[in-house]
Amino acid sequence: MREFFRTLMHRLAALFQRHRMEDDLDEELRSHLEMAVEANVSKGMSVEDARREALRSFGGVEQTKELYRDQRGLPMIETTVQDLRFGLRMFRRDPGFSILAMLCLTLGIGANAAVFSWVEGILFRPYPAVSHQERLLALTGTARGEAGHTGLSWPDFVDLQRSCTLFDSFFVSQITGTTLSIGDRAERTTGSIVSDNYFDAIGVRPILGRGFEPGEDIGRNAHPVTVISYQLWKGHFNGDPQIIGKTQRLNGVLHTIVGVAPQGFYGTFVGWGMQFWVPVSMEEVFGAGGYKLEDRGARWIEAYARLKPGVTIEQAQNEISSVAKRLETDYPATNRGRNVKLWALWQTPFNNAGTLLPTLEIMLAVVVFVLLIACANVGNLLLVRSFARRHEMTVRLAIGAGRGRIVKQLFSEALILSAFGAVGGLLVAHWCRHALVLLFPARGGVSMHLPGEIDWRVLLLSAGVCLLATLLLGLVPAMQTNKIDLAGALKADSAGVVGSRGRGWVRSSLVVVQVSLSFVLLVGAGLLMQSLQKIRGSSPGFSTREVMFTAVDLVSAGYDAQRAQNFQDQLLDRVKALPGVESAVFARMTPLSYGSFSSTPISVDGYEVPPEERSTVEYNEVGPNYLATMGIPLVSGREFTRADDERAAPVAIVNATMAAQFWRGRNPIGERVQVKGRWMQVVGLAKDSKYRSVRETAKPFFYVPGRQNFTVGAALFIRTPLRPETVAVALAREVHALDASLSPYELITLQEQVDRSTSPQLVAVTLVGVLGALALLLAVIGLYGVMAYAVSQSTRELGLRMALGAGAANLVQLVLSRGLALMAGGVLLGAVVSVTLTRLLGKLLYHVSPRDPRAFGAAFAVMTIATLVACLIPAWRATRTDPAEALRD
């Protein structure tokens, strides 16, 4: 063994001192021969005989040297280096081919690397600086018989934390926001409401000050402390080294800054970078909807847990479920039918991991397609070259190169191409790191934070892709070497025929594969496009045109309930008086936004909640004439009026699904419903509309008058035929007139809100569309290449046909029919593949069948046009054949 390593070291060392060792060897052998000559001369031979005899008994100087060299270095490596050098030389001689091939591979590998980096940075390791993310899990509530998820309530969370033993830690990280004035302008800033163990649990140490201390998440508004982000510290506080202990007003409450988070830590929310953190005890200041820490029915928390090492997610889920079961028995009013579910980080159903997961899953498949198409293209180019190089290969075989050696040479060349492609691809991925953000509109002037992450795992995967490409590329030309026969090589190229099935079949089948793969992508893009149209075109149950909304952040400005109420009343009067405004109303929650509606267990006279059903229903706090302003039809009864205030009897408006569920279709008007211990009289019945997502199914929902359930945070809805920009100017003026320190947020239409809430679908369409177009382009290049080559190789046949009287039209027809035949094969194959694969789009499709004939038809049409374009130039060339010249050759 020791000898083996010693030998290996010697051989390795020899690789780097070839020249010196070569000189050494020359000298040693020369001295040997001369000694032999001298010895022979001294035996009495003539000098010539002595030399001849010396050489004879030595037995071949060059062979000895060759043997010696094999023993000296590492022949494997040396020949590989030789092959690579030779390959590089070949590519330099043919730069057009090399650049085209490398460009194709750069696109193919780059698309893969970019998507890998997004998957890594958004799904697998979304939280830079957080330790052991592989053991991090997301937690949500689930409700029996209902798809989707809810948050957790604080009391449930505390019980889980206390009762579970298989976890290192549980922590809360709930997104919130405030308005900070940065310089002279106010900016919306995102932050997190967290449990007191947050910074310890994620293993992040503040660079200044401290994290939160045990007990700081207990007590109503008891601990106004905050940890700020590095960016906020640098930007807003100019990197003040004395920052610890200073105060900052957040949502009207003075908070003491106790810590500064390290650079590169953005919190734990996929999509937005967090700028500040406050303990759960301050929840009431940030979350609208009142004090929730003692309310088991208020499910507002997004939570995470870290497993102990070695614990599986199944074991952990069992433990969690048994605790949830106990809570169900102990607190039936709030917890009946409720469970808690664990999710691997990449499956996190909330934040933007949830919205992007289906898109990224599809993208992983799509980029594999793009890679295959790119490889097929380059493979085709290599094949053309291998025909051109047949002479070279034959000569090498004839002078004694082994077939293995030639195959090795071909794979080396493929490796060079894919290595360049990989480097280019990683550059592409690096440039595309932040590309996803561009597809999402900035909200309230703040853009999202969705960085790709190029770490060693991404590099490793990209290297794997590169090797895969090498194999694919090397394979075809390598198989072709079997066909080289030494005798045939001396003969001139035999003439081909345009329609022949001869040796072009490999290239043709590559093109068929390309066409079929890009057909699949086109079908996918078509389906997604239709789905997006359906989503954006479907009625959400409220008017999307002529209704716009905005908000004034009274919470951050420190308004109390009384001042806020006065402000809202006055602003409403002023807005209604604006020319062109038909109506206006305040409501707490905006439909289709990320925040959560209030929810509560309810009871209804004469309705026994079945044991399997939950009675928790979501509701919104709205002002007078909300339904009319929003364009939600009122089926019967009345809207809220100004008279429904805190002094009047509590009332509610229910939606159709709620009426059907709780009153079994009877007219609910005049009935009673108990909400948080208060009985409310139902005065109106509204049609269903969409509340949290355009894609949700109908669910029970009700409205209560804002006046009877007042919250400071509320959105202002305005119905007007005017453009939002026009209204925004007037609105800002009115707000300023009331309080010069305030300005409204961006004013957008409800259509814009629908569009924004469906932007993940737009992202999917855009990405699949872009890559589909890319794939189509590559396929067209491939098709063109095959047709152009076929025409150039069959001039004799074309000439013959012309001489026999074929007109230009016949020749064009000949070429086109060949091209269309290839396409038809590809489309057929692609259609079969599509039918099985488009089901994968399921989660992204909305009211569109994965086998929608229109998508298939459109893809077919696009493919046909592309094929005709690709065949045009070869067909024109065919008509330019000179019969006399072609036949003479």
Binding site: E28, M35, F58, G59, V61, T64, Q71
Partner: protein, 111 residues
């Protein structure tokens, strides 16, 4: 005519080289080749060239070392000498060769 000279058995060349260096002390390639042919009474057919890859192999394994020197005729030549590991290796190979030839002789005699 059947060849009266034997080809050098695979693997025995190493042993011959080690033994030669053991008895001659430091020696150059030509000297080693000459010595092997003389001692074997020219019964061994040795292409002198094949000696050099063998010398390199022994060197890589650390059994011999080489150094440039000057020959008796004032010629520059590379001298090889046994290392400590080489001595040990020679002892082992001589012993195993002995065992092997005894065994083969016994087999040949009994059948």
């Amino acid at each position: 005519m059947p060849s009266s000279k034997s080809e050098v058995l695979q693997g025995t060349l190493d042993l011959l080289v080690l033994k030669t260096l053991d008895s001659l002390g430091p020696m150059h390639g030509f000297g080693i080749a000459l010595r092997i042919q003389q001692v074997s009474k020219d019964l061994l057919q040795l292409n002198q060239g094949t000696l050099y890859p063998a010398l390199l192999r022994l060197q890589q394994r650390g059994w011999i070392a080489s150094k440039w020197g000057v020959s008796e005729n004032n010629r520059k030549a590379k001298y090889y000498s046994l290392t400590r590991a080489g001595h040990k290796q020679l002892d082992e190979e001589v012993e195993s060769w002995g065992r092997m030839s005894t065994m083969i002789n016994r087999v040949l005699r009994t059948s």
